[in-house]
């Protein structure tokens, strides 16, 4: 092809893209600096309120131990464990309860949502059970699940599933239903079968919406984990914090809270990294 056939803006496009990337990097660096500053201020306020041995505490350590004391509690827990079990065990068992429910909802809930989005019959069939049970606070069902499934892992996993399942399936359904008709028509007029259209057009186009559901599920899932470990448990990170509270071991409570915060934060980051890889084109249509 000759240059005459090219758009006038092809040549400048590369340069503009480089500028955009530079501006994007600067903006990202500024956001990162601000986030770090925000963390530093919180830590400083915490240090100041508790005195940290430098001055008399404004808040008694029984209510708010100093950052150093919390760190020492963490080191102690890591070395000798809590109530006969290692800290790693408590973390892992909690992650497992959350993880099994989370993966189950991705593997089953998302496909169910996709089918609901694709077929009006499936939607008519599954919408009533999902919509009628949605307003029920799922933690209220925990006693019932304990009667049905015993005090083992099953009841805890199921109560988390009941919270995440509708979230993921409904967001997948919405994602399918909002796929642009034009793209589907384009695929149809290119001779694609129904299955090809689903696999290569509807599914990828729905990914951003599916990811939104998954990321919201991380937050809700960690919250449900705390609830699930409130009763009939003797391990887990939320249980550790709750039972330490009974003995007013505030430093251990804070260790548990911070670990759960870190869990939620890192799971969300992982989702975001996968999302950025998988749906790099999202929002750039």
């Amino acid at each position: 092809m000759t240059a005459r056939n090219l758009d006038p803006d092809i040549a400048v496009q590369a340069g503009e893209a480089a500028d955009d990337a530079g501006a994007g990097r600067r903006a990202a660096r500024r956001s990162r600096t601000l986030s770090l500053a925000s963390f530093a201020v919180m830590l400083l306020a915490w240090t100041a309120l508790t005195g940290s041995g430098l001055w008399p505490p404004v808040v008694e350590s029984i209510f708010l131990p100093s950052p150093l004391a919390v760190w020492q509690a963490f080191v102690k827990l890591w070395n000798i464990g809590y109530q006969g079990r290692s800290l790693a065990h408590h973390i892992l068992i909690s992650l497992m309860r959350f993880g099994i429910a989370f993966v189950f909802c991705i593997v089953v809930g998302v496909p169910v949502g996709l089918m609901m989005g694709m077929s009006a019959s499936v939607r008519a069939l599954l919408d009533p059970p999902i919509e009628t049970t949605r307003p029920i606070p799922k933690l209220a069902l925990l006693p019932l699940f304990i009667i049905w499934f015993g005090i083992g892992e099953l009841a805890k996993t199921i109560v988390i599933i009941t919270a995440l399942f509708p979230l993921m399936s409904i967001s997948a359904m919405q994602a399918v239903r909002s796929v642009s008709l034009r793209k589907i028509q384009a695929a149809e007029s290119l001779g694609a079968s129904r299955w090809t259209i689903f696999r290569r057009v509807v599914l990828p186009a729905s990914l951003p919406g599916i990811f939104t559901g998954i990321r919201v599920s991380v937050g809700i899932g960690v919250t449900m984990l705390v609830g699930a470990e409130m009763v009939a448990t003797s391990d887990g990170i939320a249980w550790m914090a709750l039972s330490a509270a009974d003995f007013i071991q505030t430093d251990i409570v804070l260790v548990g809270v911070l670990i759960m915060a870190a869990m939620g934060y890192s799971l969300d980051r992982i989702c975001r990294v996968i999302e950025a890889r998988l749906v790099h084109w999202s929002g750039k249509d």
Partner: protein
């Protein structure tokens, strides 16, 4: 080098007809709120003809194209391509949309190879074929890019290459350049004319730009305001190769004047109807 009135539904055109509009009507809705979008469209389109349909907005020209594409069923009458009634979308009718129809999650090459792949070609063969058409539209160097990395004009080229890659019997273009700036549009118009000559495709082109229609078309149809009827048809012959500035020639201006006159009455009618509708 001029335009001449012609009747597209003459029996003598029937023998050579590739695409046939046989009393096509389309009504949306039911009862008193029903809107008649297209009323009894009859036309024979010959093999290799470049038919432009111009009309005021809302006159049903896109509806007509959607019926040919198989996205919508006519309320009455039918469209036939090579003697077969159109009932659903199909690969023998390639469609180029105004914008936003590319698959954002695929590279340019994957977009163009989508049709051949969907129709069962091996991945390698489909890629080679896609590359041929990308070269034809001047985008061979952008095969690995994603659509969002391309300008609007380049995206439309991808859309054209994607439709051509299926080697369709007819190309359906729904205002493909309407969202582009003037310079890009003119460049692409020249290029689509070159591609049309090279491939010999039958083209159905919807536009609201009279100049675009006169520049591109071998045949031009003016549609009336709702209900859309085929008001007048012309055989068009402006040869840009013989005269690069054909669009500024007296004959072109004269032709434009005639179509503008026809359309103005229709546009006023369309606006009046919209006012009544509110």
């Amino acid at each position: 080098m001029s335009i001449a009135p012609i009747e597209l539904d003459r029996p003598e055109r029937k023998a050579a007809a590739k695409l046939v509009f046989d009393g096509v009507s389309k009504r949306f809705g039911r009862g008193p709120d029903a809107v008649l979008a297209v009323a009894r469209a009859d036309a024979y389109v010959g093999e290799g003809e470049f038919l432009c349909i111009v009309g005021p907005s809302g006159c049903g020209k896109s509806t007509l194209l959607n019926i040919v594409a198989g996205f919508e069923r006519p309320t009455a009458g039918e469209v036939r391509l090579d003697g077969r009634t159109v009932e659903r979308p199909g690969a023998e009718r390639g469609v180029v949309f105004q914008q936003g129809a590319l698959f954002s999650w695929m590279t340019v090459l994957e977009n163009v190879a989508f049709g051949p792949r969907a129709r069962g070609q091996a991945a390698g063969a489909a890629r080679d074929l896609a590359m041929t058409y990308l070269e034809m539209v001047g985008l061979a160097g952008f095969a690995r890019r994603y659509p969002y990395e391309l300008s609007g004009g380049m995206q439309q080229r991808v859309g054209i290459a994607r439709a051509l890659a299926n080697d369709p019997a007819v190309l359906l273009m729904d205002e493909p350049f309407a969202a582009l700036d003037q310079q890009t549009r003119e460049l692409l118009q020249e290029e689509i004319k070159r591609i049309w000559r090279r491939t010999g495709k039958t083209v159905l082109w919807i536009t609201h730009s009279i100049e675009e229609a006169l520049f591109l078309a071998t045949h031009l149809v003016v549609m009336t305001a709702r209900p859309g009827r085929l008001k007048a048809a012309y055989a068009v012959g402006f040869d840009a190769d013989a005269d690069r500035n054909v669009t500024t020639s007296a004959a072109f201006t004269e032709a434009k004047r005639e179509i503008v006159g026809l359309l103005r009455a229709e546009s006023i009618e369309a606006q009046r109807q919209e006012g009544v509708g509110r």
